[in-house]
Symmetry: C2
Subunit: 222 residues, 2 copies
């Protein structure tokens, strides 16, 4: 009853996609919890993180089994080892969504400091970069992966914008804003770190496709 | 002229240890740059990060070659795949040292807000956890790896202490402290994240030794 490697690789891909969908949802939900300052949403995200943790372990097991039993070569070998790295990045993204809602917990019951503008923008960017990084992986699309890496600058800029505004226009002017400004500042940092992970995934995707090391060599994208 | 797998695994271990030594030095140096508010040290750490980046790529290549050419089984297979995950964690720790010195850049030329007490403690903890995680890997020491995982709580506590003090005793009382307090608050976060990576490495080490999933199951350590 031996199944073919191709089928097993398709299964692995499906598992990663399923994990990706949950992770994207966690990012989205974390922002909704901030918009609504809803403790119910916060608790939901924290409890659902366990499912994502289990998926990382399951994917790692699947990969080790494939390596041991099929002894794959070339692109298949890189696909499997990169899947192990990607599952770790996805799990850490989910952890960052939990980090975000932990900051939201500190804000529940207090009036929001300011209307949310750049943080939702950064959230959208983080979600899209995560989605595109995984799509690039599934479709072996080096161009899409490259576009994710290039968008990382945008994330850095948005994060800086949020930070400067909070420090210069709020905390430095009125000390009573500090306890509400710091969680927002940290949320922007967490979001930017999600974008970093999407960038890491994209680097792995390009490596898988080209067996070429883009990682730490951004000039190769130009 | 074929060499034995054992020798190749020893080489791989040496490479990881070498990378670990550089990463530990980067953590130490980042704190010295904060103590001295020295722009020379800042620049040194940023320029040396490239060496660590290259090492991650080299280790990944080495692992892929071993998987393709030696088709290792059981503990050797796990050792090699875990090496790829560990090299990623080490590289991210080095990135966090760079994050720290970027916050130091924002502080150079300004008087320090307060004497540094808990941040150096957290630095020492981060450095020791990183060192112990790698030692646990090299010596296949599950007990030492377990002790790293248990110390992660201590890191969280120290980070919270720093954050609370900065928000409650400084920023909330005197708005003019914000621009000097925020970088310190972020440095504490970066250090705590280094401890998270040391914890991730230790989970991988235990997995490698026991083929058991401690990751996401801390209750197994009790």
């Amino acid at each position: 009853m031996e199944r073919h490697l191709d089928q097993e690789l398709t299964d692995l891909k499906q598992q990663l996609l399923k994990m990706g969908t949950l992770v994207e949802a966690a990012i989205f939900e974390s922002m909704e919890s901030l918009k609504e300052l809803s403790i119910e949403r916060v608790n939901k995200i924290i409890s659902e993180d366990r499912v994502i943790d289990e998926m990382e372990n399951a994917i790692d097991e699947q990969c080790l089994d494939l390596l041991a039993l099929r002894q794959p070569m070339a692109i298949d070998l890189r696909f499997i080892t990169m899947s192990m790295k990607i599952s770790t990045d996805l799990e850490r993204i989910a952890d960052l969504a939990v980090d975000i809602v932990q900051r939201v917990q500190d804000l529940v019951g207090k009036p929001l400091l300011k209307p949310l503008i750049d943080i939702p923008k950064l959230t959208k960017l983080a979600q899209q970069m995560t989605k595109d990084a995984l799509d690039a992986f599934v479709n072996k699309d080096a161009e899409l992966a490259g576009s994710v890496i290039l968008r990382d600058n945008e994330a850095d800029k948005l994060r800086n914008l949020v930070q400067k505004e909070l420090v210069n226009d709020y905390m430095s002017k009125d000390s009573s804003t500090a306890s509400r400004a710091v969680p927002l500042l940290l949320i922007a940092r967490h979001l930017e770190r999600i974008c970093d992970h999407a960038t890491n995934i994209s680097e792995d995707v390009i490596y898988m496709i080209n067996a070429d090391v883009v990682k730490h060599h951004p000039e190769k994208l130009k």
